[in-house]
Amino acid sequence: MLTCKQVSNALARQDYASLPGLKRIGLRLHVALCVVCGPYNRQVMIMQDAARNFRKREDAGEHPVAGPALSGPDKERIREALRQAPKKTAENL
């Protein structure tokens, strides 16, 4: 039987979605049913859902926030820094 403190500590420690199966089920059940810690911890879990979702979208290729791109001059500056940098090539490794 999980206590509120155990549930809260588990959520503070990690994403509930990465808990092993039985632990996750137990936690979700407690949060769904508990009048003391349920409402607050449910909101903690919603934020975890949001963060996880955001990260998943980032992993899918395009950044979820369209935002500004690196400017042409900035890119050229970086390319120039790369050209100036000492190189390790197949020959001198």
């Binding site: 810690c37 409402p39 369209a66 690196l70 890119k75 970086i78 790369l82 050209r83």
Partner: protein, 196 residues
């Protein structure tokens, strides 16, 4: 179409890092901006990433796509930056509004039994692409060190212990920062999303 180094590429000799700037620079910059908020810091982090990648090309074994290999390096640079900037502006122990000392928190690990409910269906909203632009805007509005705490713990998915080391704070303090971050994010999202 430039030949994009894929899993078959051994990285040595065939990969051209200057091409990578065009292929992956924007993605890396947006990622850095998402975590650091400051364009100059983000630019620096991206440049450092490419330079570090160049000097460790021999260690790229092609097992992950170049983009995500570079991003892995970038994430270290991001954490470094946050570590440095939190040393420059040391974080005062939180004024925790008495939460940590309350009986409720000590017994149950929560600050309230009656948080204000969400003003909209958050899970439904998460299906919309636009929601994530609003999410980032609200993240950007968080004050430091709450923003950094949230970024490290929730977006970089770091262990609490590691986050505490980077920010040089106690676990309780981290909890308070994240509690505040969640609370302010929620309020901002409620306002911006319902008024979009």
């Amino acid at each position: 179409m430039p030949e994009s180094p894929g899993p078959d590429t051994a990285g040595l000799g065939t990969a051209d890092p200057t091409e990578w700037v065009d292929l992956h620079g924007d993605y890396l910059y947006r990622y850095a901006l998402s975590r650091l908020r400051d364009p100059e810091a983000a630019r620096d982090a991206v440049q450092e990433t490419f330079l570090a990648a160049l000097s460790s090309l021999d260690r790229y074994d092609g097992r992950v796509e170049v983009k995500y290999w570079l991003r892995g390096i970038l994430r270290f640079k991001i954490v470094d930056h946050i570590r440095r900037s939190s040393r420059e502006a040391p974080i005062d122990p939180a004024d925790d509004e008495g939460i940590l000392d309350s009986l409720l928190f000590k017994a149950s690990g929560i600050p309230t039994t009656r948080p204000d409910p969400w003003h909209f269906n958050a899970h439904q909203a998460m299906d919309a692409d636009l929601f994530w632009e609003v999410f980032q805007q609200c993240l950007d509005r968080l004050k430091e060190p709450m923003r950094q705490a949230f970024v490290l713990k929730m977006l970089e998915d770091m262990d609490s212990e590691e986050v505490c080391k980077v920010l040089d704070i106690s676990p309780n303090h981290l909890w308070v920062l994240n509690h505040r971050a969640r609370s302010q994010l929620k309020t901002c999202l409620e306002s911006k999303w319902t008024n979009r």
